[in-house]
């Protein structure tokens, strides 16, 4: 949207014959320069280096090693990220709908509190979950006190379950923030119209709010999925060397113990592919339609 408006500015300036193309270029240069230097160049360099052997020749050996040792971990990363994002999406849509449609002091209170996890860094979340979810951690001891769990055979949560719990806990508020802004753009008249023809709450959410905010929900999903795939601290401190583990832990393992940037970059490239495919899928089927619908109004 922003680039759209500065292109419009440039065009209007051209029309008025002042400044020309130079000013927008200069205005954009710092931002784009930073993006190129800090994102595009390392990104391209990382992909290129994944094809380099330790002697510097082009090779597929790094990918062969990934297939030999780390394929299960790559799939595990993908599964955990998809599962966490899906659960977080459902929770965030529910919470955003509640905040959008209900009113009162409790709603305001919830609206203020739900944001806290956003400000807590992943490493702190990792430490919290490590002690909260442990076999003799806070959760299990609490459940044992009220008799739901036997401490000799506690809930084993230091695995994909605890990982998903941690991811959902961290990502759902962030997604709620974005989805709520999307819901806020849906005019009250649509909701009232739907209610007046007899729509109940679930139908209002599923048939009115969600379809009209498809673009925003897509953005929230992509952001949550991308950051989940790339998270290191939570899996490292929660499951560490368990089998399977996430590909980020494997990247750290290759770099730390072997200095092997070839295989680390190969794993990273697979992560980029995971993110690109899901991003393209969502963008093609939701955002484009969303924008065109918006523009038709």
């Amino acid at each position: 949207m922003r680039s759209g408006s500065s292109v419009a500015n440039a065009k209007s300036m051209e029309r008025k014959g002042r400044g020309g193309w130079l000013l927008p270029f200069l205005l954009l240069l710092p931002a784009i320069g930073l993006m190129l230097a800090l994102y595009a160049y390392p990104f391209a360099s990382s992909i290129y280096r994944s094809f380099l052997s330790s002697e510097g020749t082009l090779t597929l050996a790094n990918y062969a090693k990934v297939r030999e040792l780390y394929l299960r971990d790559v799939l595990f990363s993908l599964e955990v990220s998809l599962l966490s994002t899906a659960i977080a999406a459902v929770l965030s849509i529910a919470l955003a709908a509640y905040l959008r449609l209900a009113s009162g002091s409790i709603v305001r209170l919830v609206g203020a509190i739900y944001r806290f996890p956003i400000f807590i860094p992943f490493v702190v979340v990792a430490q919290m979950m490590g002690t909260f979810l442990a076999p003799h951690g806070l959760l299990n001891i609490f459940l044992a006190q009220i008799g739901l769990v036997n401490l000799e055979a506690p809930l084993q949560l230091l695995n994909w379950k605890g990982l998903t719990f941690g991811f959902v806990w961290k990502q759902a508020p962030f997604m709620t923030l974005i989805v709520l802004s999307g819901f806020g753009m849906v005019d009250d008249t649509y909701i009232e119209a739907a209610r007046s023809v007899g729509a109940r709450l679930p139908q209002v959410i599923v048939r009115i709010l969600v379809p009209m905010s498809r673009a925003t929900i897509a953005v929230a999903l992509i952001l949550a999925f991308t950051s989940t795939v790339g998270t290191f601290t939570l899996p490292y401190m929660l499951i560490g060397g368990k089998i399977p583990t996430t590909l980020t832990v494997d990247i750290a393992h290759r770099v730390t113990y072997f200095g092997d940037y070839g295989v680390a970059n190969a794993l990273g490239t697979l992560a980029y592919l995971m993110v690109i495919f899901t991003a393209v899928y969502y963008l093609r089927y939701t955002v484009r339609r969303g924008i065109y619908e918006y523009q038709e109004r």
Partner: protein, 414 residues
């Protein structure tokens, strides 16, 4: 009007760009006497006597866990400053494990590749693996034999690190050792060897825990000890070498047995994961670093009744070394720093008593100086004789890497 605004915007943009531009590195011409190590030490002595109080700023960079940073920043630097008021030591911390040492290596190599006459780092504290990387790139100064405390270094790893000859380039500050921590209430008679441990975990599934090879060196050490046991070839892997590719295939059977063994154990997240699980009672036994174990106990994070034991045929331990880069700005002060930390007083009062490490210098030079409770605490569960019999080295670098990959292939994979 709009043209003036345009010009104002461009000028302010340029001002911001210039302000944000990286500062040009300052080349400081210091008249500090940077003696080349080739020159006799007589000149060094003179410098001490003449003692010009010109302010000196030293940078000490350390790998290792947060206890390394605490040691440098809160204990060693202020005491050194009290001894030499014109010297301030800044402590930089790079992080635990070989990753931290890797960062230090990359920094020194970057300084060398950039062709800088004087680097930023005066003295560094690194793991054994670093020595192979740094010696290959010729980054280090040979200094150790000039120090007063060199005569106290009797350990073999003061001269050889994982197969690399390092004599004169490094001084160990301490030795840390991996041992098995256990809860004496729940494990009245702990297994004495790996063999007995295998039987024990079958009888008590889930009560022994280690972190595998990702996430912490205590698990790595335990796994390497397993390979030493199954192969029986410790001498070749850790002392004499050479690296023989054919040895790797011989580990397959032993590692497949470890995969079976792992079914009866809990895999933890790392060094701290194992310690915390032991403390909470989820685990009854697990491999830990001796110094982390006792430090946790002193800080109230570990049940004081927990004890330590070693497994036959042995478990690895490692020193951390002081090294001085070739292009250090203040090599003479760096040498004084190393001499200070390796002196029997500091080794006894700080290394043993406060940080629960085994000393870098020979234990007998420290015995009279460290308070008896500290000495006893450290050697109570693992006496010096047990330590010298069962305390092993980590293997030569090529074997180390091969063992980690073999673990991934046969214990994790397959």
């Amino acid at each position: 009007m709009s043209r003036k605004r345009t010009a104002l915007v461009i000028v302010s943009l340029l001002a911001v760009l210039v302000a944000c531009a990286p500062p040009t590195p300052q080349v400081i011409e210091k008249e500090v006497v940077v003696e080349k190590p080739v020159i006799e030490t007589v000149v060094v002595e003179k410098q001490v006597v003449v003692e010009k109080p010109a302010p000196v700023s030293m940078v000490y960079i350390t790998a290792g866990d947060v206890n390394m940073l605490a040691l440098g920043q809160n204990v060693l630097a202020p005491e050194f400053h009290a001894m030499y008021p014109n010297v301030t030591v800044s402590v930089v911390h790079t992080g635990p494990g070989d990753a931290g040492s890797r960062l230090i290596f990359e920094k020194l190599k970057a300084d060398k590749d950039a062709g800088r006459a004087q680097g930023d780092v005066d003295v560094a504290m690194v793991h054994q693996k670093f020595m192979a990387w740094a010696m290959a790139e010729n980054l280090l100064l040979k200094y150790a034999d000039e120090l007063e405390t060199w005569k106290y270094m009797t350990a073999a790893d003061a001269r050889n690190a994982l197969g690399t000859n390092i004599e004169g380039y490094a001084m160990p500050m301490f030795h840390s050792q991996i041992a098995i921590a256990y809860n004496p209430d729940l494990v009245p008679d702990p297994p004495r060897s790996y063999e007995e441990l295998v039987e024990w975990v079958k009888a008590n599934p889930g009560k022994f825990g280690h972190n595998g090879i990702k996430g912490g060196m205590s698990g790595v050490g335990f796994s390497i000890g397993w390979i030493y046991w199954k192969s029986g070839n410790y001498e070749k892997y850790a002392v004499s070498g050479p690296f023989d590719e054919a040895e790797v295939a011989t580990w397959e059977a032993g590692l497949k047995e470890m995969k079976d063994f792992n079914q009866y154990v809990t895999i933890t997240a790392g060094n701290v994961g194992t310690l915390d699980a032991l403390n909470r009672g989820e685990l009854w036994m697990g491999p830990v670093w001796v110094d982390m174990f006792y430090t946790f106990m002193l800080e109230g994070k570990m049940d004081p009744k927990m004890r330590l034991t070693m497994l036959e045929p042995g478990m690895p331990g490692q020193p951390m070394y002081f090294v001085i880069p070739k292009n250090a700005r203040n090599p003479e002060w760096a040498k004084k720093w190393v001499e200070y930390v390796t002196s029997p007083e500091v080794q006894g009062k700080i290394i043993i008593e406060r940080y629960n490490w085994y000393p870098g210098i020979d234990g007998k030079f420290v015995e009279g100086i460290a308070p008896p409770e500290a000495f006893d605490r450290l050697y109570k569960d693992i006496s010096p004789e047990v330590l010298s019999t069962y305390g092993k080295s980590f293997p030569l670098i090529e074997y180390n890497d091969a063992m980690l990959e073999a673990y991934e292939k046969w214990v994790i994979g397959g």
